[in-house]
Amino acid sequence: MIARRVVPMAIAIVAGLVMAVSYFVRSIEWMGEAAADVFNVIAAIAFVLGAGSLLKANLSAISRRDRGWGYAAVTLAAFLITLVVGMAKIGVNPSPDAPQAAWSGSQQTAGTPFGWIYEFILSPLTATMFALLAFYVASAAFRAFRAKNTAAVLLLVTAFVVLLGRTYAGVVLTDWMPAWASGLRLENLSSYVMAVFGTAGNRAIMIGIALGVAATGLRILLGLDRSWLGGGGSA
């Protein structure tokens, strides 16, 4: 019980308090940097757990001959090939500044097998996934931007103005306006909306989140929130 509940709690509280205080005291400011390094190393070590989960899921799908187990085999093969090629830095020339050290080259150099995987598999795939958003934005705009109430009207009118104001169409449509009304030209209007209303909304959200983060952090540091502690159920 103590090892499962009390010790983790104490670790969290002490670590959190030290972190918070180190921001104010110069002599222990290094702790903030050190903690970041520690986190990154732990996260890198934790990859082993993630890989274990991935391997287990795919191996069991293959051994059970689940529907689509062939895809599990593809995942597994892709994973293992990339891992071996990258970990061993296969085909990577050493750095020209240090050719005596066999592994001094960067594994990401273009033209190496690992660089090939990055350039021709990973990079186009992630970019294309991201590009799907252009399509989803269009279907969401068609379906969701309907003037059902005041709030929805404001949402869609603003989106409308900004969409027009951010291209040459806005310039063409409202270029006829006289100089004294230039503030109403679409390109200026969209900047103005962003600078005033957007700033206000974003500031409020930021302030709210800062308070939310502070409250959440304090609950953890005061030992009030234990829900993230697993294993033994809630307090």
Partner: protein
């Protein structure tokens, strides 16, 4: 000592003090009243619907690691959803984008199943790591959405560009979607494509315990924990009062 940070220290002490005062008050039986948050009340309905339809619940805890406090809040929310799901006997699938989040989520779900009195409902394999790469993770989750057709999708944590891909795909399979994030750049998409959205601070308040609605789900038990949670939320409240005061001072 950083002299220029003394003002910040004062703020932090003020917020901490406000938290402690609210906690003490609620321990003495005066919990602050918290307004209804529609998105929170929809959680049970969504999980119940999944049970009725015999389809799974999908929980996405964002794409960042445990060093982002939104992820911590998302995992806390996962605990609540998992507890409801364990009671209703619904399946919760949690693909994660980080190994550490997978570990934390497993802990949270296991704890939730224990609390719900159904430890056997916990199956570690349903919480699995996919990939640290944002869009590889998204490719997997959207594919899984199309194939397994979850009845409810919870998107709670730190989201970036992928928010709309997930929300639109969930919408296309007819899932009830409840989102929560503090990433203000992604809120417009969640607001447009999801049924309910916890906006910014609402998300943290919800993860902190929120209205009694969820306490009731937990077995109509107005236990100390919920009260304390709400007390903790008082920090937000007190902090805002302080912010107001600060604003007023500057005006003066």
């Amino acid at each position: 000592m950083h002299e220029e940070r003394i003002a910040l220290a004062a703020w932090m002490l003020g917020i901490a003090l406000a938290t402690i005062i609210f906690v003490m008050r609620s321990r003495r039986g005066k919990p602050p009243v918290i307004r209804r948050i529609a998105a929170l009340e929809a959680v049970d309905d969504a999980v119940g619907r999944a049970t009725e339809m015999g389809r799974p619940v999908l929980f996405v805890p964002g794409i960042m690691d445990m060093d982002d406090i939104q992820t911590v809040a998302g995992v806390t929310m996962l605990g609540r959803v998992a507890r409801t799901a364990a009671e209703y006997d619904a399946v919760v699938q949690v693909p994660t984008s980080r190994s550490l989040v997978m570990e934390a989520a497993r802990d949270a779900v296991q704890a939730a199943c224990l609390t719900a009195g159904r430890p056997e409902a916990y199956q570690a394999d349903r919480i699995h790591y996919v990939s640290d790469e944002q869009f590889a993770y998204v490719a997997h989750v959207t594919g899984a959405m199309i194939r397994e057709r979850p009845a409810a999708c919870f998107l709670m944590g730190s989201f970036y560009g992928e928010s709309l891909i997930l929300a639109e795909t969930g919408n296309s399979v007819g899932a009830i979607q409840i989102a929560g994030t503090g990433e203000s750049s992604q809120l417009p998409f969640f607001v447009a494509a999801c049924d309910y959205t916890l906006i910014g601070e609402e998300f943290f308040v919800a993860s902190a315990g929120g209205p009694a609605g969820l306490g009731a789900v937990a077995g109509c038990r107005e236990d100390l924990r919920d009260d304390v949670h709400r007390g903790g939320h008082g920090a937000g409240h007190g902090g805002r009062a302080l912010a107001r005061a600060g604003v007023a001072l500057r005006v003066a």
